[in-house]
């Protein structure tokens, strides 16, 4: 069953496992989220569950949101997101229901989606991991340039121009990024905390979406299979 929760990235720290191994973790304050709407195929054309998270002053919200959240019996919330699920799964949720980090107990992996930190206008070396030009051998003032972007016959798009999507300099970051199959290190239901291994996109205090791992990397899928044969 698919499930998604909204939370706030708090920051990173480290945790020592029982065997003394040091694990870098990101602390996410996850939920509690409230189900504010159930989307159905008959009415909306698709089935999904809408959840709300994060406090906001009513005067900073809008009447539409205040009224919408009032139907679920809650104060207006800052963030509203939907996750798609089958009609049968959607029927298991009810409007006004509270989802907490406890619902992730028993899971080994989660996918985390966030908005990455904005980097501004960046060159190709930072943005696309180009290697740049030589440091010496007669290279002048072109050490970080992308080099040739192709002749008319290569990478050709319509009308002799370059194909769209050619890797060049430009704005980097501040985009939606999903990190898949992160290990759950610890769940603290009292404080609504989720500790996942490794970094998570976005700045501290940024909103992140955490869902049950939908499609594991093969190495992790094998790990699960080895531990819990199905």
């Amino acid at each position: 069953m698919s499930l998604m929760l909204l939370g706030t990235k708090l920051g990173m720290t480290r945790v020592y496992r029982e065997d003394g191994v040091n694990v870098p973790v990101t602390v996410i304050q996850l939920g509690p989220c409230t189900v504010t709407q159930i989307r159905t195929a008959e009415k909306d054309g698709y089935s999904a569950v809408q959840i709300a998270f994060g406090s906001i002053k009513p005067r900073n919200s809008t009447q539409a949101v205040i009224g919408h959240d009032a139907k679920a019996g809650i104060e207006a919330k800052r963030y509203h997101r939907e996750f798609r699920c089958s009609a049968d799964d959607a029927a298991k949720f009810s409007v006004g229901q509270t989802l907490t980090v406890k619902d992730l107990e028993g899971q080994m992996f989660v996918d985390v989606t966030g908005t990455s930190k904005g980097k501004g206008f960046q060159g190709t070396m930072k943005r696309h991991n180009f290697k740049g030009m030589f440091a010496s051998h007669g290279t002048e003032r072109k050490h970080r340039s992308p080099g040739s972007i192709g002749s008319l016959c290569s990478n050709r798009g319509f009308g002799g121009g370059l194909k769209k999507g050619k890797k060049m300099s430009g704005h980097m970051g501040a985009e939606r990024v999903t990190i898949r199959s992160l290990d759950i290190v610890r769940i603290d239901a009292d404080q609504n905390l989720l500790l996942v291994k490794g970094p998570v996109p976005g700045a501290n205090r940024g909103m992140v979406m955490v869902r049950r791992a939908t499609r594991l990397y093969r190495s992790k899928a094998n790990k699960v299979a080895g531990k819990k044969p199905e």
Binding site: L10, G11, T13, R14, V15, G20, N22, V27, Q29, R205
Partner: protein, 131 residues
């Protein structure tokens, strides 16, 4: 609770409270847990503390010793459960926060004098030389 307090509450259980006062220049024995198969044994690494960095759970300590005329440095997390304990063998008189200059020294100039002053914070104990 603020963000920093929440993170510190997670760290609190892992931070050791039984670490003695360790200053730069002190000679310290780190009792490291070594796991070989199912067996666990303690290996003691004794040397001079040349650097401490980080705070709280991230605090690291650099210990330098000379093994067969070869300098060996280990950088250990102070709060790692793999270090069973730290033991101060000798108090040294260092006048810098980082003793990286010891790496270039050899022979007599590599030594650090015993500390005889400013030991109030460790209860006034003055460890005799050759301890």
């Amino acid at each position: 609770m603020g963000i920093q307090q929440i993170i510190e509450s997670i760290n609190a259980s892992a931070i050791k409270t039984d670490i003695p006062r360790i200053d730069i220049g002190d000679t310290v024995a780190a009792h490291c847990r070594i796991v070989e198969g199912n067996k666990e044994r303690i290996q003691v690494f004794t040397g001079i503390v040349i650097s401490r960095s980080g705070r709280g759970i991230n605090e690291m300590i650099t210990i330098r010793r000379i093994v067969e005329e070869m300098g060996v440095e280990r950088i250990l997390p102070m709060n790692s459960p793999r270090v069973a304990k730290f033991e101060v063998v000798r108090r040294g008189n260092a006048r810098r926060a980082k003793l990286y200059y010891l790496r270039e020294r050899s022979g007599k100039s590599r030594r650090i004098a015993d500390r005889r002053r400013g030991l109030k914070h460790v209860g006034g104990e003055v460890v005799p030389s050759n301890a």
